[in-house]
């Protein structure tokens, strides 16, 4: 390719010195152009984040000026009367996400341990991709499956059983009739969180140097003691970061939650009652919202969601940064 170009240059300009000069100048310009468009693309991606923040806050401004900060904890949401508050939605978001994480993180970390330390190479190559495949299922399909398959099972079997055995704890109240509940939403979110946390923690565990583990085994530690004493402590901050990333995913999920949570308005102690989250309220009401205040309030929900999401993401980055592979290798 380069030979072809140079011979064309030669034919056009017999004076080789001058053609070299021209080519050099052209190269310099082309280098500059390439750098320019690359830098522009990078700037654009940063600008998108800023623009998202601006547009969402701008869209929320009528609601912000009307309700102020009390919007965050007020629990009335009545579009017909122009009264809006995010309290019960914030509650639903936090509860469903934390329950999802409480169920999902131990499962996901166990999967990470299995894939990195226990599974034979052949099995690892099959189960690893299958677990990641779970993350590829679109949320709308998971939610649809949730309404028709999971919710009846949860309502008919799981919730009565939990209510009978652990009913003295208020969070395991009497089941509702439909199966749409915060608990069902949490289970769906668990399915979404597990593959994310599992694949990150598997990579973390794989990075723990073999010699350290072998050293512990040589001292007589059992496999579990190696995990408990060497692998988990040295990757703890990374595992926390992975869980925070999973939490961020759960907080922001809109569609699947809308489908299974039942759009309840009240704050209930029982997980088996219906509820609603910030993201799912936006998804369920935005397409039908007409009044300016209603739309602005939904944008306000977006602002709250954006803030929580950014906090959990930045916290994950920050904790993850403190986890340093080199410290392990030393």
């Amino acid at each position: 390719m380069s030979a072809v170009t140079s011979s064309r240059w030669l034919r056009r300009a017999p004076d080789r010195a001058r053609s070299g000069e021209r080519r050099k100048r052209f190269d310099r310009v082309a280098d500059g152009v390439l750098f320019g468009i690359c830098a522009l693309a990078a700037l654009l991606s940063a600008a998108v984040i800023v623009a998202i923040g601006y547009q969402v806050i701008h869209g929320a401004s009528p609601a912000i000026s009307k309700f102020g900060l009390s919007f965050i904890y007020e629990t009335t949401w009545q579009p017909n009367f122009g009264v809006f508050g995010a309290g019960s939605l914030l509650f639903g978001t936090l509860v469903s996400s934390f329950v999802a994480l409480a169920i999902g993180a131990p499962i996901a970390i166990s999967i990470g341990l299995y894939l990195s330390l226990l599974a034979p190479a052949g099995v690892r190559g099959v189960i690893g991709p299958l677990v990641e495949m779970l993350a590829a299922i679109p949320s709308v399909i998971l939610g649809f499956w949730g309404i028709l398959i999971l919710a009846p099972f949860v309502q008919g079997t799981l919730e009565p059983w939990l209510h009978d055995t652990l009913g003295f704890i208020p969070i395991f109240g009497a089941p509702e009739t439909t199966g749409a509940s915060i608990f069902t939403a949490s289970l769906i979110l668990t399915i979404m969180v597990v593959p994310i946390v599992a694949s990150i923690s598997r990579d973390l565990f794989l990075a723990v140097p073999r010699e350290v583990q072998d050293g512990a085994s040589a001292l007589g530690a059992t496999r579990w003691e190696v995990v408990r004493g060497v692998v988990l402590p040295s990757t703890a901050s990374g595992v926390v970061a992975a869980s925070l990333l999973g939490l961020g995913r759960a907080l922001g999920e809109a569609i699947a939650v809308t489908q299974v949570i039942g759009a309840g308005a009240a704050i209930n102690a029982s997980l088996f009652k219906t509820g609603d989250t910030l993201a799912s309220r936006i998804a369920s009401q935005f397409p039908g919202a007409i009044t300016e205040l209603h739309i602005a309030s939904l944008y306000y929900l977006g602002v709250i969601l954006l803030v929580i999401g950014l906090i959990s993401n930045l916290a994950a980055q920050w904790i993850g940064r403190r986890f340093d592979y080199r410290r392990l290798a030393r």
């Binding site: 380069s2 190269d27 082309a30 280098d31 152009v33 390439l34 750098f35 690359c38 522009l40 693309a41 990078a42 654009l44 991606s45 998108v48 984040i49 623009a51 998202i52 547009q55 969402v56 701008h58 499962i107 996901a108 999967i111 299995y114 226990l118 189960i127 299958l130 495949m133 779970l134 590829a136 299922i137 679109p138 949320s139 709308v140 998971l142 649809f144 499956w145 028709l148 593959p195 059992t222 496999r223 579990w224 003691e225 990333l245 961020g248 995913r249 907080l251 922001g252 809109a254 569609i255 489908q259 993201a279 998804a283 944008y299 969601l305 954006l306 999401g309 993401n313 930045l314 980055q317």
Partner: protein, 292 residues
């Protein structure tokens, strides 16, 4: 007789404390294995349900004609939307990755990486709200708006994937190009990008698989349609698409609609699974090529 008496002929079997520790370890191993099997079982159940319930709905008529019998327009619409999103996101993503690996210094790299991670962690419904305010409010929903939303979702995926392969391009290729006096842009276009092409395509296909099933942006940006006929007015009208079709049918609650929603789910999920499997195979191949 004291238990500590040493008997050199006794077989080396665990006793007391050691037996307990062994048992704990065994239980932990079973627990971890069970967790992995559980996740695979959930995947199996979901896919089996979609297959068994969706297969009944599938027919040529279902795939090609419009609502109420089929989802032809939605399939066509999803293809249009995703192709346009790819056209926007792929070049941008590759350029961002090039900037980070070829031009930027350490601090800019860290900043750019943070930007991409934050962008990747944004809830897709927020991206829907953003594009709604940007392109749809006071105007009309359009397939194009949906493409822009999906492109924002795809951008960090393409950029991160490309970045990873660009870092894998052997250093001696770059050095050889430098030694031959090849200028930067020529080296990038003729040496670095071609050798990273496999990885770039993998990242793009994975991003496409992710974008094709995104519902939240589509619900806000391209959801007002009948689904009766294909819409080609891409910039001025909401374009039917599979995710919104599944969502509306699942909210309506009629058994007939459910059957069609399962059929649409089957179409969507098989596309996504084949795309991710293909990308995975492509990735393994390009890694092998790169290392040999």
């Amino acid at each position: 007789m004291s238990p500590a008496a040493f008997d050199p002929t006794a077989p080396l079997t665990p006793s007391g404390n050691l037996r307990r520790r062994r048992a704990v370890s065994r239980v932990a191993e079973y627990g971890a294995t069970a967790a992995a099997l559980f996740a695979v079982a959930v995947l199996g159940i979901v896919i089996y349900t979609v297959l068994s319930r969706g297969a009944g709905a599938l027919s040529l008529d279902f795939l090609f004609s419009g609502a109420p019998t089929g989802i032809g327009p939605a399939i066509l619409g999803t293809v249009m939307i995703v192709v346009a999103a790819t056209v926007i996101a792929m070049p941008l993503g590759v350029l961002v990755a090039l900037f980070v690996t070829e031009f930027a210094g350490e601090r800019v790299t860290a900043a750019s990486r943070l930007t991409l991670d934050l962008l990747n962690g944004l809830p897709s419904i927020i991206i829907g709200l953003f594009v709604f305010a940007l392109l749809v409010e006071f105007k009309t929903q359009s397939g194009f708006a949906c493409s822009v939303g999906l492109a924002i979702i795809m951008l960090p995926l393409v950029a991160r994937g490309t970045q990873e392969v660009l870092l894998l391009v052997p250093g001696n290729l770059r050095e050889a190009a430098d030694a031959l006096g090849v200028s930067r842009w020529r080296a990038v276009l003729t040496v670095i990008l071609p050798s990273a092409l496999g990885g770039i395509l993998t990242a793009t296909v994975l991003a496409v698989a992710r974008a094709a099933g995104e519902t939240a942006p589509a619900l806000l940006l391209s959801s007002v349609f009948s689904g009766k006929e294909a819409i080609f007015n891409f910039f001025g009208e909401a374009v039917p698409n599979i995710p919104v079709t599944i969502f509306t049918l699942s909210e309506e609650g009629s058994p007939d609609g459910f059957t069609r929603a399962w059929g649409a789910s089957l179409v969507l999920i098989s596309f996504i699974l084949f795309a991710s499997l293909g990308a995975r195979a492509m990735h393994a191949r390009s890694l092998r090529k790169m290392s040999s």
